[in-house]
């Protein structure tokens, strides 16, 4: 088998492979940068929580207007935003930390969602419609996910400095005259938008995995937020290519293959990454302490 057969032929011969690659690439560019900020803010599990939080909105959309993607998307976005805003508000107004209030609200939301779905009876159909699959991307699905990624990148570029400032020192931003909660809300809106669009197009696993794994891997290679974002996107795209080829050649399901490729990138980073990877830490433990980086125990 030549290199051409191995790498290029599947994408050249089959439209669904090209579409899958395009969709996964768009997803990587939209979701992975958000993942970097989630990692920075120690909200890495939020993607998962939000995945459950959008269910009641989707179910309500389904109950009101049947299997209409638009209605379900609007519903999902509404409940997702409501949950994130409420959780954020509770975290800011009360001593309860944001992760705890997120957990509380997403569980309430999930309970409501399961209830609504069961009212209508058949949840099989709903789940099929709700969760897309990477091998069946139509024109509208591709359009949706690319528009979503473009919007995300543009908005991130606009609020980039505020967002970084808020991640690293929220107190500073609040003290120096607001902007903090606004940036936070913009950020949460972007997360919800990407999740809702991504679920319908590519499925839960793909979206949450593409959001978090490349970001977590990039953390070990780059120091600046910008560097991490660029790397995370690259890791995401590479895992998409590798995962699709594995699915094609080894006859395994596509989205787990893509996510496991990203997972492999993460594990390699944990071991070999120059910024806090295990090899680095082991080597650093030998020379006399007090030398160079990192000054604090930031990387654990």
């Amino acid at each position: 088998m030549t290199l051409y057969d191995l790498v290029a032929a599947p994408f050249i011969d089959f439209g669904f492979m090209r579409r899958a690659l395009a969709g996964a690439t768009a997803l990587a560019f939209g979701a992975a940068p958000l993942g970097v900020f989630l990692v920075l803010r120690r909200m890495s599990l939020m993607g998962d929580a939000m995945a459950h939080a959008i269910l009641p909105g989707v179910a309500a959309g389904f109950l009101l207007s049947g299997l209409s993607l638009t209605a379900m998307m609007i519903g999902g976005a509404l409940t997702g935003l409501a949950v994130s805003l409420l959780a954020g508000a509770v975290a800011r107004l009360t001593p309860l930390r944001e992760d705890a209030s997120f957990a509380a609200f997403y569980l309430i939301s999930l309970g409501l969602g399961v209830l609504l779905v069961s009212v209508r009876g058949s949840n099989m159909d709903l789940l099929h419609v709700l969760f897309g699959t990477v091998l069946g991307l139509g024109d509208d699905a591709l359009m949706l996910v690319t528009v979503c990624a473009s919007l995300t990148l543009i908005i991130l570029a606009t609020v980039y400095r505020l967002l970084v400032a808020e991640c690293l020192d929220p107190g500073f931003l609040r003290a120096s005259g607001g902007g903090g909660s606004f940036v936070h809300m913009v950020f949460l809106t972007l997360v919800v938008m990407n999740l809702v669009a991504g679920f319908q197009v590519l499925g839960t696993l793909m979206v949450v995995g593409m959001m978090m794994l490349p970001a977590a891997a990039a953390r070990f290679w780059a120091r600046s937020a910008g560097g991490q974002i660029a790397l995370a996107c690259a890791v995401g795209v590479c895992s998409a290519v590798v995962g699709l080829l594995i699915s094609y050649h080894l006859n395994v399901t596509a989205s787990p293959a893509i996510i496991l490729s990203a997972g492999a990138a993460y594990l390699i980073s944990v071991v070999g990454g120059p910024h806090g990877g295990l090899v680095y830490l082991a080597r650093r433990a030998k020379p006399p302490a007090g030398s160079a980086w990192p000054p604090t125990g930031e990387y654990k």
Binding site: G15, G132, L135, S247, Y248, N251, V252, A254
Partner: protein
């Protein structure tokens, strides 16, 4: 004398009235509809057509149910124990039924609807196409995985995807209308034997029903005949259409190496697309490869049409297009003709 006579007459009149009343009641008892249990919805529909008002038909596996892997309930045993006639398909279709008839203590008469049908052997498998592929690399065909489960999908009828537990003959004989006519005749004969008082009515209704089936059969045959034979190729995940294909000259091709339940891999998709292109297949009826979007993608890439739902082993719920045997057949034929038409 006259009063006596009149008294006597009165007595006689009373007696005869009483007798008549008795007679009527007896007649009513005979008129109480014959209690029939049919193993699944298609047989129940034929039994109702043949039995008319003279029978009361209960169904064990109702509309949208899967008769391949049915778990009988205590209710079923109870219904069966009081039934006088049981209608089954035969050809080892209802593997779960013998145990149920034993445990319920059913003492009535059993009608095997498929008696006299020429059984069609199952093809040795769907693997035949493999030699065409360079890469017949032991991708195991997942048909066996699916067979044993009960499929609770709400959408299409309870078609069994995957291997069936029955023997080497294809039991889905009702997918040929001529066999359906034989079913009606067998059921009428069985009813006549169990309830001789209405034998003529059963036979008359069966004959009328057969005429309707025959008319539909003629219509469908001419519809398919209008499509060139080389174009009558369909990919479907159902393996229940062997008789249908035989009757109307349609080749039903199973999607190679694709499980209908799990999400397919890119390799599965590539293989199916290759198969559709190579064999010049016009239509793809694969409803449950996890998402309709995959089928749409296959259609987009090959130019084949995607078909609607085909009903194979069960009727749909009342009010839907395939609520009767005739309706089901007409629906399936329409879907296929629409998809195959140039």
């Amino acid at each position: 004398m006259i009063p006596t006579r009149s008294a006597r007459r009165h007595t006689l009149a009373l007696l005869s009235a009483a007798l008549m009343a008795l007679n009527i009641r007896a007649a009513h008892a005979a008129d109480a509809p014959l209690s029939v249990v049919a193993s699944f919805s298609i047989l129940a529909d034929i039994a109702r057509e043949v039995g008319g008002p003279d029978v009361k038909v209960d169904t064990l596996v109702g509309p949208d149910g899967d008769a391949h892997s049915y778990e009988p309930t205590p209710q079923d045993a109870k219904r069966l124990s009081t039934a006088r006639v049981l209608v089954v398909n035969g050809l080892d279709f209802e593997a779960w039924l013998p145990r149920l008839t034993q445990s319920s203590g059913f003492k009535g008469q059993t009608i095997v609807a498929s008696t006299g049908v020429t059984p069609r052997p199952f093809e040795s498998g769907h693997d035949e196409d493999d030699h065409d592929h360079g890469e017949a690399d032991g991708h195991d065909h997942d048909h066996d995985k699916a067979g044993a489960e009960v499929h609770g999908h709400g959408h299409a009828a309870g078609h069994a995807h995957g291997a069936h537990d029955h023997g080497s003959n294809d039991p889905h004989a009702w997918q040929d209308l001529r066999n359906g006519m034989r079913y009606a005749r067998n059921i009428a004969e069985g009813f006549a034997a169990a309830d001789p008082a209405h034998a003529a009515a059963y036979k008359a209704r069966a004959a009328a029903y057969e005429d309707r089936l025959q008319a539909l059969n003629t219509r469908i045959t001419s519809q398919f005949a209008a499509i060139p034979a080389a174009q009558r190729k369909v990919v479907t995940s159902h393996d229940a259409f062997g008789y249908f294909g035989q009757a109307y000259g349609i080749t039903f091709i199973a999607p190679v190496g694709m499980s209908t339940d799990a999400e397919p891999s890119a390799a599965d998709m590539a293989r199916l697309i290759g198969q559709v292109k190579r064999d010049n297949i016009r239509a793809v009826f694969v409803e449950n490869i996890s998402s309709p979007r995959l089928v749409e993608q296959i259609a987009r890439e090959t130019g084949a049409r995607t078909g609607g739902t085909l009903y194979s082993d069960a009727l749909s719920k009342p009010g839907q297009p395939a609520a009767t045997y005739l309706g089901m057949f007409e629906w399936n034929a329409k879907q296929l003709v629409n998809a195959l038409q140039p």
